[in-house]
C-alpha cells in the first residue's frame, strides 16, 4: 500500500499585538492512498485550520510551520501555496462557489489550468466529471449559477471542481454539515465511491462521530490543537483509550442509554491562549489528577496502530513512558 499524504510536525501560530498563540501544536498525521482519515473533535480545536494549513490557505496573521509535507511519497513543502496533487472541498457550498460564474465555465477554467486541456476537450472532461459526481443532466447543469442549485447539487459541483485538478489527496472540511440528513448520506457515499475509484487518499474533518464512522478507515481525535488519540476507526470507536474520546462517543445521541438522556461534555474547550503543557482536557475530565498536569511528550508508543496521550491507563506502561523524558 502506497502512502498518500504525510504531514509532519505541523504547527500553526497566530500573531497579534501582544505576541503569539499556538493554535495547532506540532501534529503529525498521514493516510495511505485509497483510504480515509477522519479527524474528529469539538468546534474550535483546530481541525479545519489543520486542513487549511496543509492547503496553504491560512487567514491573514496566521503562519504555519511544518517539517515535511509529502504527497504520494514526494516532498511538496513549497512556498505555502496549495501543494500539487492536493484538492479541498469546503463546508458551506452556498458561500464557497464563485456566485458570478456559471458552473460550466468554472469547471472548464479549472480543467484548462490544471490538466492542460484545450477548450473542447475541457468541456467534454467537465461533462464527464459532472456525471461522475452523479449529476443527471450535466449539459443543463453547466449553464447554472451556484445560487440556482440546491445544497446537495452545489456540494456535488464543489466535489467535481476539486476532482478536476486530478488530485492524489482530497481534503474534506465538514462537507456535509450544511446539508440535510439524506443528502448528507448520499454525498458521503459519493465521496467514498470516488475515493475507491480514483485511489484517493482522503482526510475528512467532522465534529460528528456518526459521519466519521461511515466514511473513515482511520480516526484522529483532536482536542485543543493536539491529536489526543489515533487508530483504526473500529479500535477508536469500540475501544477508546482517551477519556475525551470516550466522552465524545457518549455524547452521541445514538449512544445514549435507552431511556436515558445522552450526556454532553460539560464546559467548553479552552481558548488557545490558555493552552497548557499537560493534558488540555484535564479541566473538563472527571478522572483528572495531578499526573494530568505534568507536561506531555506526545502519543504513546505502546501500539503504533492505536495510540493515545491519556495518562490514565493502568494496564499500559504509558505513564512511565510518557514522563520518562518529561
Amino acid at each position: 500500500m502506497t502512502t498518500g499524504l504525510e504531514v509532519s510536525e505541523l504547527t500553526v501560530r497566530l500573531s497579534h499585538e501582544d505576541g503569539q498563540v499556538v493554535l495547532v501544536d506540532g501534529i503529525t498525521l498521514g493516510i495511505e492512498a485509497g483510504r480515509c482519515l477522519g479527524i474528529v473533535g469539538e468546534s474550535g480545536c483546530g481541525k479545519s485550520l489543520t486542513l487549511r494549513s496543509v492547503m496553504g490557505l491560512v487567514p491573514l496573521g496566521v503562519e504555519r510551520d511544518l517539517s515535511a509535507l509529502r504527497v504520494a511519497g514526494r516532498e511538496v513543502l513549497g512556498d505555502g501555496t496549495p501543494p500539487p496533487g492536493v484538492a479541498m472541498v469546503f463546508q458551506d457550498s452556498a458561500t464557497s462557489l464563485n456566485p458570478s460564474m456559471r458552473v460550466g465555465s468554472y469547471l472548464v477554467r479549472v480543467l484548462r489550468r490544471a490538466a492542460g486541456h484545450d477548450a473542447r476537450s475541457a468541456r467534454e472532461a467537465a461533462l464527464l466529471l459532472l456525471s461522475e459526481v452523479g449529476i443527471s443532466h450535466p449539459e443543463v447543469h453547466m449553464n447554472a449559477f451556484p445560487h440556482q442549485l440546491s445544497g446537495g447539487l452545489r456540494q456535488r459541483t464543489a466535489i467535481a471542481l476539486a476532482l478536476a485538478t486530478a488530485p492524489a489527496v482530497l481534503l474534506c472540511d465538514e462537507p456535509t454539515t450544511a446539508l440535510d440528513v439524506s443528502t448528507q448520506a448520499r454525498i458521503l457515499r459519493l465521496l467514498r465511491e470516488r475515493m475507491d475509484a480514483r485511489e484517493l487518499a482522503m482526510v475528512f474533518v467532522s465534529h460528528d462521530m456518526g459521519v466519521i464512522r461511515q466514511v473513515a478507515d482511520r480516526v484522529a481525535v483532536m482536542y485543543a490543537g493536539r491529536i489526543v488519540e489515533t487508530g483504526s476507526t473500529e479500535d477508536v470507536i469500540d475501544r477508546p483509550r482517551h477519556h475525551y474520546t470516550r466522552m465524545l462517543l457518549e455524547s452521541m445521541p445514538a449512544n445514549a442509554a435507552p431511556g436515558g438522556a445522552f450526556r454532553s461534555i460539560p464546559g467548553l474547550p479552552p481558548a488557545p491562549a490558555a493552552y497548557v503543557e499537560g493534558c488540555r482536557f484535564a479541566s473538563r475530565c472527571p478522572h483528572h489528577d495531578a499526573g494530568c498536569d505534568l507536561p506531555l511528550v506526545g502519543l504513546d508508543g505502546l501500539s503504533l496502530e492505536h495510540r493515545s496521550d491519556c495518562v490514565h491507563e493502568d494496564d499500559t506502561p504509558s505513564r512511565e513512558w510518557t514522563h520518562a523524558r518529561g
Binding site: M55, L57, F90, S96, N98, P99, M101
Partner: protein, 314 residues
C-alpha cells in the same frame, strides 16, 4: 433576456411616481412665492400688462388642478417659461448650457472613479498596515472638505500661482474646453473619491476574505486570473451601485463647481437665477436637473440588476 427587460420596466415604473412628485413640487414652488406670485414671476421691471399676461398664462385665477394640467401640458411640449431678466425661453437656455454641465458631470464621474477605485483596492489589499491606515484617516478628513472651498483653493494654487490652467470661464476651442474642465472635474473628483475608495475597500475586503476566493485559491487560481475572474467580477456590481448612488450628488457637485469656476452651465444658471429671483428659470432648471438625477439613479439600478447574476432570478 425577457427577465431583464421586465426588471428594467419594473424599475422604470418605480420612477414614475417620483417624477410626478417632482413635477408637483416644482409646480407648487409658485405657491410659496412671497407676495404676488404673478408679479414675482414677471420680474421687478414688468409692466402691469405683463403681470396680467403672466397671471393669465399660468392660470393663477383658475382652480389648481386646471392650472397643474396646463403646467403639465407646457412641460410636455418643452415650454418652460421665459426668463424675467433676459426674456430668453428657459428651454433654449437649458439646451445652450447643458453641454458644460454634461462635460463636468462625465469628467467628474471619471475622475472620482479613476482616483477612488484604485485607492479602494489599495486600502483593501494593504489592510492593517500603517500606510493604508494613514491613508484612510486622510480620506475621512477629505470627505469633509466643502467642494466650493476646495475649488477655490485649487484655483489659487494651480490656476493663479502656477498659471497652468484656466480658473474662470471657458477657453475657446476643443483643447480650451478640455483645459477649462480639468480643475472643476478634479475638485468634484477629489471630494467624492474618498467615499468611493472607502466603499470599494469594504466590498473588496469582504470578497478577499470570502469562502469562494479561498476555494478559487485551492483550485490554483492566483495572480491575474484570480483577480479577473474571482475578485473583479464580484466587485463590479457593488461598484456600479455606488456609481449610481453617487451620480446624483456628483451632478450636484458639478452644479456647485460651475459657479466657482464661472463656467456657463446649468448649475451656474440655477444659482444665478436663484440669486436674482428669476422664477421661471429656477423652476425649469430644478425640473430638468432633478429629473436627470432621478433617471441616472434608476439607470444605475437597472445596470446593477443586469450585472449581478443573482438578481436575474429573483
Amino acid at each position: 433576456m425577457s427577465g431583464r427587460a421586465q426588471l428594467a420596466l419594473r424599475r422604470l415604473a418605480q420612477v414614475l411616481p417620483v417624477l410626478l412628485l417632482l413635477l408637483l413640487t416644482v409646480f407648487a414652488l409658485r405657491a410659496i412665492l412671497p407676495g404676488d406670485p404673478a408679479r414675482s414671476i414677471a420680474g421687478p421691471r414688468a409692466t402691469e400688462a405683463q403681470v396680467e399676461e403672466v397671471r393669465d398664462r399660468l392660470g393663477f385665477d383658475e382652480p389648481l388642478p386646471v392650472a397643474f394640467a396646463s403646467f403639465l401640458e407646457d412641460v410636455t411640449q418643452g415650454q418652460l417659461g421665459v426668463s424675467n431678466r433676459t426674456h430668453q425661453p428657459v428651454a433654449e437656455l437649458i439646451v445652450q448650457r447643458a453641454p458644460v454641465t454634461l462635460s463636468i458631470a462625465i469628467g467628474a464621474v471619471a475622475t472620482t472613479f479613476l482616483i477612488g477605485i484604485p485607492l479602494g483596492w489599495y486600502l483593501a489589499l494593504r489592510r492593517g498596515r500603517a500606510d493604508a491606515d494613514a491613508a484612510s484617516a486622510v480620506l475621512i478628513a477629505v470627505v469633509n472638505v466643502p467642494a466650493f472651498w476646495l475649488g477655490l483653493m485649487l484655483s489659487i494654487l494651480v490656476g493663479l500661482r502656477w498659471g497652468v490652467l484656466p480658473v474662470g470661464g471657458l477657453e475657446p476651442g476643443v483643447t480650451g474646453w478640455i483645459r477649462s474642465m480639468i480643475l472643476p472635474c478634479l475638485t468634484v473628483g477629489l471630494v467624492a473619491a474618498p467615499w468611493v475608495a472607502r466603499s470599494v475597500a469594504t466590498s473588496i475586503g469582504g470578497i478577499l476574505a470570502s469562502d469562494f476566493v479561498t476555494t478559487a485559491r485551492s483550485l490554483r487560481f492566483s495572480g491575474w486570473s484570480l483577480f479577473l475572474h474571482h475578485l473583479l467580477r464580484n466587485a463590479l456590481p457593488p461598484t456600479v451601485t455606488l456609481l449610481a448612488l453617487q451620480a446624483g450628488s456628483l451632478l450636484f457637485g458639478a452644479v456647485v463647481v460651475e459657479q466657482v469656476f464661472a463656467l456657463p452651465g446649468l448649475g451656474s444658471a440655477l444659482l444665478e437665477a436663484a440669486a436674482s429671483r428669476d422664477f421661471a428659470v429656477v423652476q425649469g432648471l430644478t425640473l430638468v436637473l432633478g429629473a436627470a438625477i432621478i433617471l441616472v439613479n434608476a439607470a444605475g439600478d437597472v445596470a446593477v440588476a443586469v450585472l449581478d447574476p443573482r438578481t436575474r432570478w429573483d
